[in-house]
């Protein structure tokens, strides 16, 4: 509950003016920013006033000036219209307004709202229209009373539902627009500001942005992930090689989080050394994602850019065994970033694990073995236990290796499967069978080798902590599946055994490294951590985002001796929750089908690991990018006092 004097948010008008004191009103968000009371807030869905002292006309003027900077130029009504409206507001606050101006503002505003080409201008004018409609007397004070606006400073933030959903807050509308106009170099530059793995994520990202695309409510989301691949594949940037700086930072783990942090730190001028126990660079992206989803040379190309910035990588070096954390400190590393991922497969519960010495394999290990070039002999039958992306990757890899009969056994139903829907569909098209609502309880062995799995059927009960319905075994429903191998892919956990040497780095009950989530600082001074070892198994983009932010924290720490959080990080939920909203406030949008890049035919995927998805052609990419509604949202907050 926040006390408001006036609100037009989401079309619902609350007007407590003229009453004694402000009344509490239930808003969708708290009026708090960075620990301060927000006095007034203005964005695409209206405006909210908590403090009667805020000059609303002055605020609308500043807001529209910000909107003007973002109005793209694609359509007359939006582009010229916003300019004209801003001009009229200029006139009003500089004592040259006329009463007719208010009618003009209304006419322009409603015209833009109904008929601008995309969502940005159409939505952006809403709060300005609301001020004209509900704060007319304030405008008249300027027009008739010739008052001058107070000097005020506002906090401005620009975001979009897709940007806000992305952990790295990439400027999605920005690069989609550049791709539409075939300006690939600029698109790639823009992507690289927040994501140093455009080619990798253009192939294998889970695309939180797409899940929160405004077009979900119209037809289907923009193919953002596939679009990102276009500039990554069709152009390359000349990123200047440089010599590393003097101040040293150690990074443990050459996965997405560690590499993203290294990239940013190197660009800031630090001398970064990365340690990894594996013989090659890339972490889960390398050892966890099969090449039919992400070709290794793409990953290599993007890692080479990071190396080119002077980042040194020491492989086959396990910290805690080959070198200790103390030794690193002794070598002059004032800060250490731990990004060791989650590479330990969790074991599923079976009565007789020990009996099966052969044929019982961990999924992460299986993928690691395959991806690092170990020879895997295909067998006739394999069962993969689990329903996540690792399970799907194992299944599709087995099929390509020549396993004849590949079956996934998953304890819940299709709806609860955590694996990406498209991946599941592709796996099934390729011939993977899925046994839903079942789980192995006993391994059947012969001479130490697996010959089958005794499974039990499950039914779904009440939702558990994850929100998914809990599977419950059905008594007496046991059945046997014949198999030569069982791969367990029911989840991964960080391997933190390297911290066992008495370092005081705090570990959570979930077995992850405890950090302050806005600064990535661990319980030990100068030691930071991020990525899967902090969150548990997550996604590439979450790791990249963690690397980016940790780098910013480390930089602050090394320059200032402490991490002073940015207001944005501390602000917490207010802006984030509002910005995630997909609610539109514009006119009719024509339905237009989503386009997908071409895929390798099913018969051409057999026994090879060629990438299944191809790159969009420039023409198809431009067409798909044309669907973007450019849902940027300007947010203006009045926090400080006005003079």
């Amino acid at each position: 509950m926040s006390e408001v004097i006036f609100s037009s948010w989401a079309g619902k008008v609350v007007d407590n003016r003229g009453q004694k004191g402000a009344k509490a009103e239930k808003l969708e968000f708290p009026l708090q920013y960075n620990g301060h009371q927000v006095r007034a807030f203005m964005s695409w869905n209206g405006f909210v006033v908590a403090d009667g002292g805020v000059n609303i006309v002055g605020m609308a003027h500043s807001y529209l000036k910000e909107v003007e900077k973002l109005s793209c130029g694609e359509c007359t009504v939006g582009y010229i219209g916003i300019k004209v409206m801003a001009g009229i507001l200029d006139r009003i606050i500089s004592e040259q307004g006329a009463e007719d101006d208010l009618d003009l503002l209304r006419w322009l505003g409603s015209g833009i709202k109904e008929n601008a080409k995309c969502d940005f201008c159409a939505s952006a004018v809403t709060p300005v229209l609301d001020t004209v409609n509900y704060y007319k007397e304030e405008y008249l004070k300027f027009i008739i009373g010739k008052i001058k606006p107070p000097k005020a400073t506002y906090i401005v933030r620009v975001t979009a539902p897709c940007m806000e959903a992305c952990p790295a807050h990439q400027d999605v509308p920005g690069y989609v627009e550049l791709i539409r106009n075939r300006r690939y170099t600029e698109a790639l530059e823009l992507i690289r500001r927040t994501n140093c793995f455009p080619g990798v994520t253009g192939r294998a990202c889970v695309a939180f942005c797409e899940a929160n695309c405004v077009r979900n409510d119209i037809d289907s989301p923009i193919a953002i992930r596939a679009l990102k691949r276009v500039p990554a594949d069709l152009t390359s940037l000349k990123i200047k090689k440089r010599k590393a700086g003097k101040q040293k930072v150690a990074v443990i783990g050459a996965g997405m989080a560690g590499l993203a942090a290294s990239y940013n730190l190197a660009l800031m001028g630090y001398k970064v050394t990365v340690y990894d126990e594996q013989p090659s660079v890339g972490g889960m992206a390398l050892v966890g994602i099969p090449p039919y989803r992400l070709s290794k040379d793409i990953l290599e190309k993007e890692i080479d850019i990071i190396r080119g910035l002077g980042v040194e990588v020491k492989l086959n070096t396990r910290v805690g065994k080959d070198i200790t954390l103390e030794q690193l400190s002794g070598e002059g590393f004032k800060t250490i970033f731990i990004a060791t991922g989650a590479h330990l497969g969790r074991e599923f519960d079976i009565d007789n694990r020990k009996e099966a010495s052969k044929g019982l394999v961990d999924g992460v290990e299986f993928l690691r073995d395959f991806n690092t070039g170990k020879k895997i002999e295909p067998k006739d039958r394999v069962i993969i236990v689990g329903g996540g992306n690792v399970a799907i990757d194992c299944a599709r890899t087995c099929l390509r290796l020549g396993f004849k009969d590949v079956t996934i056994v998953y304890r819940r139903s299709r709806a609860e499967m955590p694996g990406k829907k498209e991946e599941v569909e592709e796996a099934e098209k390729e011939g993977v069978k899925i046994h839903f609502l079942a789980v192995p309880v006993k391994v059947l062995t012969k001479g130490g080798g697996v010959v089958g799995a005794e499974c039990i059927r499950m039914e779904l009960g009440e939702p558990d902590a994850s929100g998914r319905r809990r599977p419950i075994p059905v008594k007496g429903s046991e059945f046997v599946l014949k198999t030569d191998m069982i791969i367990s892919a029911i989840g991964e956990a960080p391997d933190l055994s390297f911290l066992a040497g008495g370092e005081k780095i705090k570990i959570t009950e979930q077995g992850t490294i405890a950090v302050d989530l806005s600064s990535y600082q661990t319980s030990v001074q100068g030691v930071f951590s991020g990525g899967d070892c902090v969150t548990g198994p997550a996604t590439l983009i979450e790791a990249i985002a963690a690397g980016n932010r940790a780098a910013a924290s480390i930089d602050q720490y090394l320059r200032l001796g402490k991490v002073t959080l940015s207001g944005e990080d501390k602000a917490g939920s207010m802006l984030h929750d509002i910005a995630l909203s997909r609610r539109r406030d514009g006119g009719i949008i024509a339905r237009r089908l989503r386009q997908s890049p071409e895929q390798l035919a099913i018969e051409d995927r057999k026994l090879n690991f060629n990438e299944v998805e191809k790159c969009f052609t420039p023409e198809a990419a431009a067409n798909e990018a044309e669907r973007c509604l450019r849902c940027y949202r300007v947010m203006l907050l009045a926090v400080g006092s006005e003079k």
């Binding site: 973002l70 130029g73 694609e74 582009y79 001009g87 008929n115 080409k117 920005g174 627009e177 106009n181």
Partner: protein, 240 residues
Amino acid sequence: MVKLTIDNKVVEAEEGMTILDAANKAGIRIPTLCYHESLSSAGSCRVCSVEIITDGTSGLITACNYPAEEGLKVRTNSEKAIEARRLALELLMAQRPHSDLIQKLAKKLGVEEPRFTLAQRECILCRLCVRACHEIVGADAITFIVQGLDRDIDEATVVHSLEKCIGCDSCAYICPTKAITVADAGDTRVINTPGGKMEFKLKKCKTCGKYWAPEKQLDYIVEKWQLEPGIFDTCPDCRA
């Protein structure tokens, strides 16, 4: 085939047609500015705005790029449609008051004088030139530079690349507001764009001595169609 109603007239349209296509087929005129039948639609000028009723709600859309859908009700001359067009034209007039075409379109709707003034510019960002250069010529010499987050530009603009431009003058031909113009003088063609002047050397006909086309354009054609070098040494008149 889909059936829709335009101005109370039932119109049959082929799958994939826009409302503008369907209206044209039925002989119903909708004004346009940034539309050209040989190019893709941009929906930029908003001059072809019409009112549609779909799922019981009424709204405005541009006829040039909205698909002709089954059961759609379209009103090309409703109060709402006319007002939307008036807004677009008043805005265009404020931006580019000296364009004959804009004046003509505005007058038809009763817009005489814009009620606001703006810094005038010749280009209205309709991107007919960008589309023509990409879709017809294939030279891709013109880029649309939009405004955006952290973008260091003052204003959206359309920029020619001298390197890619072949001097064919298609952009000047298609520009509705004469923001791009072309003039040949002696052995030189000059193309004036909002971003600056470009010069192209013209080819001299071996037979009559007339300067007849930009050398760069002729080279481009020879390469694109794999013609024999020297085929354009003489002008079409002398070849005939």
